[in-house]
């Protein structure tokens, strides 16, 4: 996997296309229409998923999450970036151009 498009705090990200999702008692299940693969997000992952329904800067997202989950800034940023990059590898999120956001 190329790291060229790695997501950082300045990236603006949004949910990928061609996905069907559903809420299950706080978890989120996703299916990629193209690959037919299934994915599951825990409640925190689900909250992050909800925040990128529309394009959003990662730094902004981290601020919201820090408050909601009472977690330290560094830890929050680290975890959020790790998840977003994981999701990006599966084409579940995409990076949008800053100017388009």
């Amino acid at each position: 996997m190329s790291n060229q498009n790695a997501i950082d705090l300045n990236s603006v990200v949004v949910q990928g296309e061609g996905l069907v999702s559903c809420d299950l008692e706080g978890d989120t299940a996703l299916m990629s229409v193209e690959s037919g693969k299934y994915y599951g997000l825990d409640p925190i992952g689900s909250r992050i998923w909800g925040l990128i329904e529309k394009p959003r800067a990662v730094a902004d997202m981290c601020e919201i999450l820090q408050e909601e989950f009472e977690v330290e800034r560094e830890r929050c940023e680290h975890d959020v970036l790790a998840l977003l990059n994981e999701l990006a590898e599966e084409n579940l999120v995409k990076v949008v151009d800053d100017s388009a956001a």
Partner: protein
């Protein structure tokens, strides 16, 4: 064989007009939803998007190729054309018709066929899910012996509305049991016909013990087995529930990514959101049927 003779049955919530006699099905006088007829069936589907060793599918067309038995072409949820192999037996042709061919047809009709058996408990449907060999039919048989009515065996059809109204549709009045299980339930297996040439399963006609009306879903049990000494029973939540339902979708392999799997995902998700699902872990052999039935009876009484 009288070529002109047409039979009318009901199964899986459908009225069926069939050129092939299916004595295990209940008769029906309703307007047919599905037509089963003999005709020429191709040996491949052009541009199939799904291909397996005995099936090919594209959109609302499914082709099944069962060597020495028949080829089946299932279309638009309304028609099944059968081309029999020379010398095939009615029994074998019916086995794949009522299993795989109807499984594909039910997906085409937009209802959800699950791999499971169902019984009636106090006006609601209780469903036992699990892959072949885990004791779904045997368990339904044990409840049948206790006076419960059976709704379906092996293929359990759910009608799911977007608002989450879940209804189980009756299959047909027969239980398929291993000879040993039939004997343990007090049935003389020699009097029952063998339904599958590959495994020694026998058809037990249900008559009065069959519930032929659709019922609201009450509970789903997923049967699993493990290296354990005693039964374990636990409610499933969230993703676990969804995964169990996806894994127990009947003939999931026929579904393509674009249409079939998306619909299946949405149906299983709605089901997971609205239904109570528990997992039953049972010890491997022997199949302690009575103990399992006792356990589930107690669980349902809560």
């Amino acid at each position: 064989m009288d070529k002109a003779e047409i039979h009318h049955y009901k199964a899986y919530g459908l009225n069926i007009e069939s050129a092939l006699p299916c004595p295990e099905l209940a008769p029906s006088r309703g307007v047919p939803d599905v037509r089963v007829r003999y005709g020429a069936v191709p040996d491949s589907l052009a541009d199939a998007t799904v291909k397996g060793w005995y099936y090919q599918a594209r959109g609302n067309r499914l082709l099944l190729i069962i060597e020495d038995v028949a080829r089946y072409l299932v279309s638009d949820g309304r028609e099944i054309i059968i081309e029999r192999a020379p010398g095939s037996r009615d029994n074998d042709v019916r086995l794949y018709l009522l299993g795989s061919a109807f499984g594909g047809l039910l997906h085409q009709r937009g209802v959800l066929p699950l791999h499971g058996s169902a019984i009636e408990v106090n006006g609601g449907a209780v469903v036992f899910l699990g892959p072949s060999g885990l004791g779904k039919s045997a368990l339904a048989g044990a409840f049948y012996k206790r006076g419960y009515r059976v709704m379906t065996d092996d293929v359990c059809v759910l009608s799911i509305s977007e608002e989450g109204i879940l209804v189980v549709l009756p299959g047909y009045p027969q239980l398929k049991l291993w000879a040993e299980v039939a004997r343990s339930l007090g049935e003389n297996s020699l009097e029952l016909g063998q339904v599958d040439p590959l495994v020694e399963k026998h058809g037990l006609p249900l008559r009065k013990g069959f519930c032929e009306t659709p019922l609201p879903l009450r509970r789903l049990y997923v049967l699993t087995t493990a290296e354990t000494q005693k039964f374990e029973l636990a409610p499933l939540k969230g993703m676990e529930k969804l995964t169990a339902l996806l894994n127990n979708t009947y003939r999931f392999c026929f579904l393509d990514g674009q249409g079939g799997k998306v619909l299946n995902f949405k149906q299983c998700a709605t089901l997971a959101q609205h239904a109570a699902v528990s997992r039953v872990i049972r010890p491997g052999a022997p199949l302690l049927l009575d103990e399992l039935a006792d356990l589930l009876e107690r669980d349902l009484a809560l």
